[in-house]
């Protein structure tokens, strides 16, 4: 066996097997991250506020457009930590 053949067999094939296993294990998370939140990791996304579509809100209690003054006060609720 020449040096090239030896390298291919003893370095190339193991490296190829390692690469296949690596892609099989980590490939999916490298391409896309379906669940990007991990407890304990920092949260670097901009704050976002989701409200229902206006036509889903039956009465006139739709959130007021931007620029209005405070219109209600907090009465109750609950809190939690995890």
């Amino acid at each position: 066996m020449s040096i090239v053949q030896t390298l291919l067999v003893f370095v190339g094939i193991p490296a190829g097997i390692i690469a296949i296993i690596y892609v099989a294990v980590y490939g999916k998370s490298m391409v896309r991250q379906p669940n990007r939140y991990r407890p304990g990791r920092p949260w670097e996304y901009a704050a976002s506020w989701y409200v229902p579509h206006p036509d889903a809100v039956v009465d006139s209690g739709a959130p007021s457009p931007s620029g209005t003054t405070p219109s209600t006060t907090a009465v109750g609720g609950a809190s939690g930590e995890w």
């Binding site: 939140y37 219109s71 609720g77």
Partner: protein
């Protein structure tokens, strides 16, 4: 399904569909956004209350910040404020919505949400919380 979630930046609450969301910039994938949208729309339509979900950092004291955000809403609103970075969630009810949703019901929903969040399932926790709150409030 309408497919888009109305999104508003803090301090400038907007409503209406925004189709340009969920293309990789935000924390949620389009499918996750669709789930949140469905839960928000269904629970609001079912109960007549206006549910909204805030996901982002809350300045300490976090409860006061959540209540300040809530004050931009209406009397029949329910705010679910989640800060994944601080691992804190707050549910805030107003003068009208508190009559439909006693604090005990909110605490139960918060408990279920905490369980999902602790597992890293942000979307599942939000959807579960919305459903539990809507079930507790009942139909109008």
């Amino acid at each position: 399904m309408s497919g888009e979630v109305a999104k508003a930046a803090p301090n400038e609450l907007q409503h209406g569909p925004r189709a340009d969301l969920g293309r990789g910039d935000g924390p949620f994938t389009p499918r996750q956004l669709a789930r949140i949208d469905e839960a928000l729309t269904l629970s609001s339509r079912e109960t007549g209350l206006v549910f909204s979900v805030y996901v982002g950092e809350l300045k300490p004291p976090t409860r006061a910040h959540a209540e300040a955000l809530f004050e931009q809403l209406t009397d029949n609103a329910v705010l679910i404020a989640v800060s994944p970075g601080q691992r804190v969630l707050h549910i805030v009810t107003g003068p009208v919505s508190a009559k439909r949703l006693p604090n005990r019901a909110c605490a139960l929903a918060a408990l279920a949400m905490r369980a999902s969040f602790a597992n890293g399932d942000l979307t599942g926790g939000i959807v579960t919380g919305l459903r539990m709150l809507a079930d507790s409030a009942g139909s109008q």
